[in-house]
């Protein structure tokens, strides 16, 4: 359940921003979650509800933007859509694609007041 650690990181990022920018409340949190990132979005949302309690972001609306997974197919010499790490190339069927997108997870933006 490393989503709890990730949720605590979100709170820390928000508190850092609040200290630097001086906002009092967060209305909306925009997260970008890669399709291949090591996180379960529903679990993260659950953890955030708990972790953000009592913070400037308590009750904030959470918006998760999915970033599609991408892999490099050496046989096709191009980037293709990749939904699971073990999927074959949708064009030529080769396995062993190199993941090149959709691995990250980050706080993208905060709507504040």
């Amino acid at each position: 359940m490393h989503e709890m650690s990730l949720a605590e990181n979100v709170r820390e990022i928000i508190e850092d921003a609040a200290a630097a920018q001086g906002f009092r409340r967060v209305r909306r949190i925009v997260l970008e979650i890669g399709e291949l990132a090591a996180v379960e979005t529903a679990a993260l949302q659950f953890c955030l509800d708990v972790v953000l309690e009592g913070s400037v972001a308590a009750g904030a609306r959470l918006e998760c933007v999915a970033v599609p997974g991408e892999g490099w197919c050496a046989a096709c010499a191009r980037t293709v859509a990749l939904h699971e790490r073990y999927d074959p190339c949708p064009l030529c069927g080769a396995y062993g694609l190199t993941v090149c997108g959709g691995e990250r997870m980050r706080v993208s933006a905060l709507e504040v007041e």
Binding site: M1, H2, S5, L6, N9, V10, E12, I13, D16, A17, A20, Q21, F23, R27, R28, V30, L31, E32, G34, A38, V39, V65, A66, V67, P68, E70, T79, E84, R85, Y86, P88, Y95, G96, T98, V99, G101, G102, E103, R104, M105, R106, V107, S108, A109, L110, E111, V112, E113
Partner: protein, 299 residues
């Protein structure tokens, strides 16, 4: 030598840059560099044209009536693992400066990684300096097994935690006696999921999969096999008693990670241990050479 409390080189990434502006104008805000997809390069011009990122123009603020209070949109662009990754980079730089090869051993519980580590340390005794960080939720059992070989071991108990993180390792390093040019084994919490996401500053993750676990584990838990550089297929001496298709397991692992090196091992029979030790020695030699060339350790 580690454990002298020397300050690590700073490699803070200072990601806290946040731009402030009303929501209505944020639609034109430039996405951060290094975003996951190349499509972001065009996002300024066509923020809602099917690119996979933010669509500020469709947010609630645009619907606000004039005169109503309007929230401000802060572009944060901070990675959830950014702090861990920055600490891991410091650990990595500190270890590299000392010519120390650090390996993060990851597996499910019961894969035999402690037994394999004990056997490895016994074979290395007198040849290469080594130290061990043991991660478990509770108990000193594993550290005690390591110390019985004469090697220094530090036990980290994570309590309810399911993985080691870079901060734990940063705190452990000054407490661990390890000579320059030595081997540091970090035995992570037995868990084939969570430790994949947390960089500790190791040179390589080494995933241990035992043949009693089933050959489909690389597909069931692909993140871990993708994060590793070496797979030790362990308890290989038990194959006669099991229905385990070695080539299928390796094939699945290579689907997830085509660069993965595979060594078949057994702590009981000793099979594969020479190949594993040769892998260790090759990488340690390269690590020592790099440190000597940097002038941070004697040649």
């Amino acid at each position: 030598m580690l454990g002298d409390g020397a300050a690590a080189p700073s490699s803070e990434t200072a990601p806290a840059e946040a731009k402030r502006g009303p929501v209505a104008t944020a639609a034109a805000a430039r996405p951060a560099a290094g975003a996951d997809t190349a499509a972001t390069a065009d996002a300024d011009a066509t923020p809602a044209a099917g690119h996979p990122h933010l669509h500020f123009g469709t947010g609630p603020a645009r619907a606000h009536a004039p005169g109503m209070s309007q929230g401000e949109l802060l572009r944060i662009e901070r990675d959830l693992l950014g702090k861990n990754d920055a600490l891991a980079a410091r650990n990595r730089a500190q270890l590299a400066a000392h010519g120390i090869l650090a390996l993060n051993l990851v597996s499910s519980p019961g894969s035999g990684k402690t037994a394999l580590l004990v056997r490895t340390l016994q074979k290395l005794a007198g040849r290469l300096p080594a130290a061990v960080i043991e991660g478990d939720q509770q108990t000193e059992f594993d550290a005690e097994r390591i110390r019985a070989t004469g090697v220094a071991a530090l036990q980290i108990n994570t309590g309810k935690g399911c993985h080691l993180d870079a901060d734990m390792i940063a705190r452990a390093l000054p407490r661990l006696p390890l000579a320059d040019g030595g081997l540091l084994f970090i035995e992570n919490v037995g868990n084939l999921v969570c430790p994949a996401a947390f960089d500790l500053g190791e040179a390589h993750k080494v995933v241990i999969l035992s043949v009693t676990e089933g050959e489909d584990k690389p597909l069931k838990y692909p993140d871990m096999f993708a994060a590793a550089d070496l797979l030790l297929l362990n308890k290989i001496d038990l194959l006669p008693y099991l229905q385990f298709d070695v080539q299928r397991a390796i094939g699945y692992a290579l689907r997830v990670n085509p660069r993965l090196r595979v060594i078949q091992t057994s702590a009981t029979s000793g099979e594969g241990l020479d190949e594993w030790l040769a892998w260790l020695e090759d990488r340690l030699a390269a690590t020592r050479l790099a440190a000597a060339q940097q002038g941070t350790t004697p040649a």
